[in-house]
Amino acid sequence: MNGYTGKILRINLTSGVISDLDTSDYEEWGGGHGMGSAIFWDIVLGEKQVDLSTIDGFHEENVITVMTSPLTGTMALGASARTEIQGIGVQSYPEWFTRSGIGGRFGPMLKYAGWDGLVIEGTAKNPVWIDIRDGEVQIKDAASLWGLDTWQTQEKIWEEIDGESGNGGWREISTEGNGTRSTQKPAVLTIGPAGENLCRVAAIIHDAGNGSGQGGFGAVWGSKNLKAISVMGTGNIHVNDPNELMESRIWAIENFTYSLDLYDAEKAKWATMPSNLRSYPSPLVTWERPQEGRPQACMGCQAGCRSRYSPRDGNESSCKESYYYNAKVLLRNLHVAHNTAETPEELLQQLYSSDLPDPQKQAADLAQKFGINAAELETGIPYLRDLHKMGVLGQGKEIDCDLPFDQLGGNAFIERLVHMIAYREGIGDDMAEGFFRAAERWGRLDEDMQTGLLNNCHWGLGMHYDPRVSLEWGYGTILGDRDINEHGFNPLYMIPTLTQEQPLSAEDFAKMFADRMPPFEDDPLMLDYSDENMYSEHICKLVAWHRYYGRFWIQSALYCDFQYPDFFNWSAEGYTGITGQGEQRFFNAVTGKNLTFEEGIAIGKKIWTLDHAIWTLQGRHRDDVHFADYIYDKPARPPKFRMPVNRNGQWEYDRIGERPLDRTQFEDFKTRYYELEGWDPQTGWPTRSTLESLGLGNVADELEKEGRLGEE
């Protein structure tokens, strides 16, 4: 089994029994998510015979998987360091079986320790942490760790394993004195106070700035009394063809990444775009990058989408953590009157002087240390402010709290807010449930879901890209379990919207994407985002393909979403990115298989269908699959994206936005979508013939037993 270690570690926290599974039993799923879903199915439904409609994420029978892929820990470009976490989450509404990814170095270290993944079952009586050193696995008392923040926890574990803070030379790591040594720090996944206090917005954190936020798995770990998992590995991974792997990496860098020798400021800006391969470090942060910083990357990654700074505020944080407390917009405490500017430029300089404290970076650190999902705070903070301005939230108000709104934008506000949530103080007890459930507790949910004041439009989760405009994103989310957070089609509308001169015609742009979307490659109308096409069978294919690609190549083979799929690429000949060529090339070099790109897509369909069967057993019916009212009743807010559209057979770019969804037509879309998938359009449940065609006859049997098999 090239690329795999051959074993998956299984830990039962209730009994303390430690065992393993054979990876080969799950090899057909590729890795990551596919394996995780199959293992969840086998244990929860097969072994334990649990009725999924009766348990939630906090239930002892919930099983959490932490999976790698055959590419993890190798030199596969952009696929060396992701780890996939799954189980029943507690953040969405209802609590769906869900997933969350995390980068850094945990996955590679787990592979080097000899494990393709972890399976966590049961609930410990008292707080514990798991210490993995190659094949040695111990469940340890976490009394001294409970209550610590995520950074303190990791430092304590490093200290225990290394005997000091961890910065040094070679150290013996085996507890059995077998001479196994390493220079590396253990890789640790841990929860903070938010997870311990079962906050549904709790994340799992690794190193300074890697977070598994979606799903609230931090709280699930807290409910299992699991504080942390530490792993030290000293082994290696058998790669089928190391020469081919290295040649593939060099080929990818030379042909698809950005060359500093050809530096162009305008193009360089796009080199930081998610879903473009990047050759040079380009932090995905929204704050000003200080001179005193250096790039930081996940293990084996060429991109370096985070930084380390001097001083250290904001170390390793990126994307949402860097964005959620955007002080530049919320700032009130640096009042204009306090400045001496004579020009707007001076005004800007004084407002954002590097001498001033940077609440954005410190807010990022707070989210990491307390273990809170920054995406939830991103929608929650503007909501709190609007409620405050409405006069319903604040000191002595209907929703009584002591949040210092006069300090909004500064440190005092965010420190208080994070503390309230992590320790469930005051209305923090409501917000710890997530802002959707908080609104419900405050008696505001119906009103705020009608007006859109609370911008949580699907499954109680915050909007990321508007489903009224970014169809593949929104439809994919509501047909699934969480904000998909897959950026593959962003360039299709970001580049036309924000560039002065279009590199490609709308027709060529649409075809560039469609050509690499098997088995639907003959239908470029998948990329027609017009009002006339937005509920069509073409858009069904777009959504389906995106789900399949995501489920296999992103979440199972574990290519990083910030780099794949790479359709359009400024650096490549004819702008044609690596997708369709690169994914399988790396996969086959490592595994020795002969998998085609399309076969990967087909495995993705199988995984997507298995997930849908799990949601079906949790109780999902097609009637549950709808957005919040404001998505149908109100037009999308700006911006209007310039998107490819096809009218009367002619392709063009047009500004799309400010449109609501139509309820009836979206229901028609769902019917077409279920028919495309081979699921029962009356219920949305998979049918036996579809399941059997995918080799999932056992899944059909289970659905039939529970009376939830779709009609043919």
Binding site: K320, A337, P344, P638
Partner: protein, 113 residues
């Protein structure tokens, strides 16, 4: 200063203050990575800060109307209207408006001490 008449102290204080929830203006931030975020704008200063972002999203005509009818600054609104008529596309209009708003804020600061 950019041919804007210095505001009175009362007007300056009003322009530096916050409006009510009902009178807020809605804008959006577009970020290459993080996506789109809708933003409630409660003051002229916040408008300025939004316009400083790389890809601010705000309807210039709505902004002009808001400044005229909610903040009662007809002169600034007129100047913005001129920009809208003279310039082409938000890419050119919004930076010009940002500078006008910035000038107005500096004037307000000077008037209020």
């Amino acid at each position: 200063m950019k041919n804007l008449t210095a505001p009175s102290r009362d007007v300056a204080l009003q322009l530096l203050g916050e409006v009510s929830f009902e009178d807020r203006l809605i804008g959006s931030l577009l970020h290459l990575r993080a996506g789109v975020r809708t933003v409630s704008l409660y003051s002229l200063e916040e408008v300025f800060l939004l316009l400083k972002e790389p890809y601010p999203q705000i309807d210039p005509v709505q902004l002009e109307n808001w400044i005229r009818t909610t903040l009662h600054d007809g002169e600034l609104a007129d100047r913005i209207k001129t920009v809208i008529l003279q310039e082409e596309g938000d890419r050119n209009i919004l930076p010009a408006i940002r500078d006008l708003v910035g000038w107005r804020l500096i004037q307000c600061k000077q008037v209020t001490g």
